[in-house]
């Protein structure tokens, strides 16, 4: 079974995000970039499927600038077999990403597509769903467990009320939630082996997709700073403030 995993290069989870002085965007200058944490989980899940003998080949795809190769190499070190970079410096919206992925799905014909449920930079949580709509494939989003059973995959989803398990016929799309697995580290011997694994670079045009922007960023502002706390003299004052100022009582 072939598994396609999509990974995104994003600002590192641990970096304190700064906004550009002109409020046009987030400042990415000299900022540490890394693989989106949900994508790490997607790669890990694919690798585990391969270790179980369920998956036979893992293809990892990323869309972005040339340096996004780093995240593909990391995926290859973790156990993916080959990589595809759709190279573009354009700003990408979810729909464009879904269209590009659809083209890759058509070309590669995977049985399973695994994506992170969202990326931590734009937090849209829509690419997987859009890809489902565009390809007509069944989707299991917010997965906390993935079990392949013959020509079906059972996906346990984290929903508001608890867990819901859906049975999807393959090929299918799965988006990963945090509790699906704990990703491993890339071992140094595997990082070295990954250098020899194939990495194909294509352009959006090669895939017949035109990058169009339908959104305009009006303004990017940091969240309001928390104001300093105060000390209250006694319980009565605390209750008074909770009632009249915080209005929580």
């Amino acid at each position: 079974m072939k598994v396609l995993v999509a990974v995104k290069r994003v600002i590192d989870y641990n970096v304190k995000v700064r906004v550009k002085p002109d409020n046009s965007d987030v400042d990415l200058n000299n900022v540490k970039m890394a693989m989106n944490p949900f994508c790490e989980i997607a790669v890990e899940e694919a690798v585990r499927l391969k270790e179980k003998g369920v998956a036979t080949e893992i293809v990892v795809v990323s869309i972005g600038p040339k340096v996004a190769q780093e995240q593909i190499r990391t995926s290859l070190a973790l156990g993916a077999d080959r990589g595809i970079l759709i190279e573009t410096d354009e700003k990408l919206e979810s729909l464009t990403v879904a269209k590009l992925l659809k083209a890759v799905v058509e070309k590669e014909q995977p049985q399973l597509v695994v994506l992170g449920k969202q990326s931590i930079d734009s937090d849209n949580n829509q690419t997987g769903q859009m890809l489902g709509a565009l390809t007509g494939l069944p989707q299991g989003t917010f997965a906390s467990e993935v079990v392949v059973d013959g020509d079906k995959v059972n996906v346990t989803r984290e929903v508001d009320a608890g867990l819901r398990t859906v049975g999807l016929s393959l090929p299918a799309i799965v988006t990963t939630d945090l509790r699906l697995n704990e990703p491993r580290y890339a071992s140094l011997p595997n990082i070295m082996k990954a250098k020899r694994k194939p990495l194909e670079v294509v352009s959006p045009a090669d895939l017949g997709v035109e990058i169009k922007s339908t959104q305009t960023v009006v303004k990017v502002t940091p969240p309001a700073e928390r104001s300093a706390g105060i000390k209250v003299a006694d319980v009565a004052e605390l209750v008074e403030k909770l009632k009249n100022e915080a209005k929580v009582l």
Partner: protein
């Protein structure tokens, strides 16, 4: 004098202190006395007579003058994270707490310096530096509580010493109040200043025995770029040294730490962070370096390959994100906290790097021979020759007996330290806990000069008496 010999009554003492700093800046309630009278050692029961919170250098000066006049012993107090009882007030001393001298000012972008009150918390300075696009590199587990004044008094080291040195290397200038009550401006923040004795250096690591640091000008540097962490599994201790040598001759490492498999298993068992890999190894080395370009990574990979070929390394991982780097660091940094539940006996010792393997073996041999039921946990900043020896208390052994036996271990360990010309306290200072062992590292003549120096700055022996050296 190891305790206050003042003839002042408690009320007179409090009133005079209040006259200097204001009524609300003197505390004598039991909670405050307990809190401000001790550090992390918890061996000596705290028993200060008052806690005073000055806000300016002039107030510190007034307190010192008052203390001289009435023979009141003073103990400086910062973040109280010390491990050698250097800031413990167990004998009725007045504690001078610097918590309110916590302002950062006078940032100079050209000189890359910043002025800190003694009470500035290390992390506060680190964050301030980051806001200016710079970096304060002295870092250790207690950075969220420890204060700059205490860092200077103990010449704090930590996890980046191999690249950035100790606190000493980042102090451009100091304002101190000497034991005689003089205010001195030391070094005036100069880079080059060959005008005789650099007295600044005496106050750094002086543990407040000559005077109190009230303000300091600290140097900042450019931030490290893309710090990348490797954790390598190593089959035997000697191989760690070969790995260190291989990497250090080719790469500027920002850290080189080691820990034993026993230490790591205990951290991993807590369930917060995963083991780096499945391959079993007796020891682990943690390396950190700046991967500014792809070339740096490639170089590290080549060195790793070489270490694999030589059989020095069994397996290894490299961080692919900041989160992974932090989690790998936790394998090392969480050890202290993790083993705390075994009431460990601890030592912080150092020798020159090349002597580390025989030194460690000799200590391990003697402890294992005498107390075969003791579990020894090693970790430390091996790139600096600094080892943290920890012995865990066997469950069936009473605490008192364990510490009695450990006192014997101390003597053996320090005899080995002396033999290897090492230090009985690499980065934790001397305070009270290491004072009895100072002679294993410092000669009688040296200690004599130390006493003489103290007598010059603090003729009445009121500044942190009973710490570092005894005057009698």
């Amino acid at each position: 004098m190891t305790q206050s010999q003042t003839s002042l009554s408690q009320t007179e003492l409090e009133n005079q202190l209040k006259a200097i700093v204001g009524d609300d800046k003197v505390k004598t309630d039991p909670d405050s006395l307990e809190t401000f009278g001790k550090d992390w050692t918890k061996i000596y029961p705290p028993n200060p007579s008052a806690i005073v919170f000055p806000k300016t250098t002039e107030q510190v000066q007034a307190i010192v003058k008052f203390a001289n006049e009435h023979r009141v012993a003073l103990v400086p107090s910062g973040g109280r994270t010390g491990l050698s009882a250097g800031a413990v007030a167990a004998n009725g001393e007045v504690v001078v707490a610097f918590d309110y001298m916590n302002s950062i000012s006078g940032f100079n972008a050209m000189d890359k310096t910043v002025r800190c009150g003694a009470g500035v918390i290390t992390e506060q300075l680190q964050n301030y530096a980051e806001e200016q696009g710079l970096f304060y590199p002295v870092d250790f587990a207690s950075a969220g509580s420890s204060q700059i004044g205490g860092n200077i008094g103990t010449n704090a080291g930590g996890i980046k010493v191999i690249r950035y040195g100790m606190t000493r290397d980042w102090v451009a200038g100091l304002t101190v109040v000497t034991g005689k009550g003089d205010i001195l401006e030391l070094n005036k923040d100069l880079v080059k200043n060959n005008t005789g004795y650099d007295m600044r250096q005496l106050f750094i690591g002086g543990e407040g025995t000559l005077g109190f640091v009230t303000e300091a000008t600290m140097r900042l540097t450019r931030p490290a770029k893309n710090l990348t962490v490797l954790v390598l599994g190593v089959p035997e201790f000697e191989a760690i040294m070969s790995v260190l040598n291989t990497f250090q001759t080719n790469i500027d490492l920002t850290a080189f730490e080691f820990f034993s498999d026993k230490a790591m298993r205990k951290v991993v068992a807590r369930g917060d962070v995963p083991a780096p890999f499945e391959t079993e190894a007796e020891y682990y080395a943690l390396l950190e370096f700046e991967a500014e370009t792809e070339g740096h990574i490639d170089q590290a990979m080549e060195l790793f390959e070489k270490c694999m070929e030589e059989g020095w390394v069994l397996d290894g991982v490299m961080s692919q994100s900041e989160t992974q780097a932090q989690n790998l660091w936790r394998l090392r940094e969480d050890i202290s906290e993790t083993i705390a539940e075994w009431t460990p006996y601890k030592n912080d010792i150092s020798v020159v790097v090349s002597k580390v393997p025989p030194f460690l073996n000799e200590i391990e041999e003697i402890v294992t021979r005498e107390y075969p039921n003791f579990e020894i946990i090693w970790f430390g900043h091996i790139g600096d020759g600094n080892l943290h020896l920890n012995i865990l208390k066997p469950d069936d052994l009473a605490k008192e007996i364990f510490f009695e036996q450990c006192a014997k271990v101390s003597t053996w360990v320090f005899e080995i330290v002396e033999k290897y010309k090492g230090s009985v306290s690499a980065e934790h200072g001397v305070g009270m806990t290491k004072k009895p062992y100072l002679e294993y590292t410092r000669s009688a003549a040296e200690i004599g000069y130390m006493r003489a120096v103290k007598a010059v700055f603090d003729p009445n022996n009121i500044m942190n008496p009973g710490k570092l050296i005894d005057m009698e």
